[in-house]
């Protein structure tokens, strides 16, 4: 019998490279920005020139080093209490990245579980989960976290809880819909004909097909979590006052915006850059991992 031709083998490393090429500049910029913030968050204690809560009232509201009156020891100037803005930004990045990572992970785990179950079993289970999602999505996240803060007290836990409680629906909806689509595919019924149970089909056949989607959603969700954390610390129901957060820095800078605009400008810049970074990363990953484009 004649053997049929095989298209050229594709090794793993070149597959990665091809994926990166498909992701284009979006992916590169996203990876760069996110990597930058993650590195700073990880290395904040090493990189920061000052203790973020160390006050130096004699050198309060110093402008950045390159402006007139700036000092080299405070590269981005100081706030109204004479704390080093650069150091505070770095430590705030820790809070932001930590919240984003933990909240997005928990939201993803819960949302994926609900989405898979609803998508797989359909029927009344799907009805219950879908209605739950509908009701949930009608609830404003900030309001919810204010309620949570009132109930379990302000702090990182309630910030994370608020994000998770609201944003699991984002994962659940998409995963549910995609599970249903995948189950219609021939490979899913072929798997059933092999005698695999529903749990095995979900875990071994469907889930690997959802990975690109989940990775993409996860990146976008981290950006959203950062924004929510900023909003919550802006309204003062995030972490305790002495812990640096971008939102908290914006509040402090707002009061002296005419005298020392940089105090507010830098944290805003960080928020914008990090959220753009996560969104670009998500966008780029979607292009890089999309199984349709990969085929």
């Amino acid at each position: 019998m004649v053997d049929l031709a095989v298209s050229g083998p594709i090794a793993r490393p070149s597959q990665w490279r091809a994926g990166f090429a498909r992701g284009g500049p979006r992916l590169w910029i996203g990876v760069g920005l996110v990597g930058f913030f993650v590195l700073i968050a990880l290395l904040a204690p090493l990189l920061a020139p000052h203790d973020p809560i160390e006050q130096d009232l004699l050198s309060a509201q110093l402008p950045p080093a390159w402006m007139q009156g700036g000092e080299v020891t405070f590269p981005l100037g100081t706030d109204s209490l004479g704390r080093c803005v650069l150091s505070r930004l770095m430590y705030a990045a820790r809070t932001a990245i930590a919240v984003a990572l933990i909240a997005a992970s928990l939201a993803a785990i819960i949302g994926i579980a609900f989405g898979l179950i609803a998508g797989m079993f359909g029927g009344w289970i799907d009805q219950v989960v879908s209605r739950l999602i509908d009701v949930w999505m009608a609830f404003p996240p900030v309001l919810l976290s204010i309620v949570l803060a009132a109930v379990i007290g302000a702090g990182l836990t309630s910030v994370i809880a608020a994000i998770v409680v609201v944003d699991w629906t984002r994962f659940a909806r998409v995963v549910r819909a995609e599970t249903m689509v995948q189950l219609q595919r021939d490979y899913a019924s072929a798997a059933r004909a092999l005698g695999l149970s529903r749990g095995q089909i979900l875990r071994l056949e469907i889930l690997p097909n959802l990975v690109p989607l989940i990775v993409t959603l996860f990146a976008v969700e981290m950006g959203i979590a950062i924004l929510v954390e900023v909003i919550l610390s802006f309204v003062g129901i995030s972490v305790a006052g002495d812990v640096a957060t971008w939102g908290g820095m914006i509040v402090e800078g707002r009061q002296v915006i005419y005298q020392a605009p940089w105090i507010m400008a830098f944290p805003i810049g960080c928020v914008i850059l990090s959220v753009i970074g996560f969104n670009l990363l998500g966008d780029g990953l979607r292009a890089a991992l999309d199984p349709v484009q990969r085929r």
């Binding site: 049929l4 083998p9 021939d186 019924s189 059933r192 092999l194």
Partner: protein, 295 residues
């Protein structure tokens, strides 16, 4: 001689309650051990539904209203779900219709074969890989080791169909349901696939229910055949008898509709609705005769 598969008076309806369409209305057929039986009929005759009912893969909105499906003397419809699942893939296997979509796009060929081997035969990872290599060699795939490492989109359609055939025969099933396995392939590959199925059947001693609308394929490999029309069995017997002396006008129409090289093209004419109507009443008459006869 005991039948491997005995379908008795199977009624299946599909669609919402009240507006359900009866896709099978009292279909019966038997497949003896080691027999290759063709199941033919036009699109919508219910032949695929019959195959799917045996595998328990009916669409979610389809209901088995009455009838029995006995596999090696045990009723599949009355069997608890886990017990039936343990038969699927091991004792009853499927060769799916479309090789392009019936393999999981994001998993390597080797991983897909070993999932089922490990599931049914409790092999270790290494043993499963060994066995998968043997299986691919058996279906005349050169360099099986390399193919095991490829993704489905990296191999040709004919090759994918061979992988699926290898998987179907992997656990030495006693019944293989081939759901139009050659329809999606081009003619040159079709022949090879048919030869392959026949060779594996002889080696593994399985019975095959070959679902197809291609009478040429039936003539080539099936010793017996069943003609299905609108959910009923119209004709059943040795392939040679049915094809040479069709008892039923519908079979004659089906034969006349087969494109042949030795006949001018205008002989290929569609069956007009009026004729179908008259065939139907004829069919009812014959049905009554058939029922009245032995009783």
């Amino acid at each position: 001689m005991t039948a491997v598969l005995a379908v008795q008076d199977l009624h299946v309806a599909i669609g919402p309650r009240g507006k359900a369409a009866n896709v099978l209305r009292g279909a019966s057929l038997e497949v003896q051990a080691g027999e290759v039986r063709g199941l033919v009929g036009e699109s919508g005759a219910g032949k695929s539904m019959l195959g799917r009912a045996v595998l328990g893969l009916l669409p979610a909105n389809a209901v088995v209203q009455s009838g029995t499906i006995q596999f090696e003397g045990r009723d599949l419809l009355a069997m608890p779900e886990p017990e039936r699942r343990s038969l699927l893939g091991r004792r009853i296997a499927l060769i799916p219709q479309d090789p392009m979509t019936s393999l999981n796009p994001v998993k390597r060929v080797g991983a897909q074969i070993s999932i089922m081997l490990r599931h049914h035969l409790a092999l270790s990872k290494r043993e499963a890989l060994e066995r998968a290599t043997e299986l691919l060699t058996e279906v005349a795939i050169r360099e099986p080791r390399r193919v095991l490492d490829l993704y489905p989109h990296e191999i040709s359609g004919g090759m994918r169909q061979r992988v699926l055939i290898a998987m179907a025969f992997a656990c030495d099933p006693s019944l293989v349901i081939a759901d139009e396995p050659t329809t999606a392939l081009d003619v040159t590959v079709q022949r090879q696939v048919l030869q392959l199925v026949e060779r594996l059947r002889q080696r593994h001693g399985a019975a095959i229910l070959f679902v197809t609308h291609d009478l040429g394929v039936v003539a080539k490999i099936c010793r017996t055949m069943t003609v299905l029309h609108a959910g009923r069995v119209l004709e059943d017997g040795e392939t040679a008898d049915v094809l040479v002396k069709p008892r039923h006008p519908y079979t004659r129409a089906l034969l006349a509709a087969t494109p042949r090289a030795d006949r001018p093209a205008e002989a290929l004419r569609p069956v007009p609705p009026a004729l179908i109507e008259s065939l139907w009443s004829e069919a009812h008459r014959l049905d009554r005769l058939a029922v009245a006869g032995p009783a």
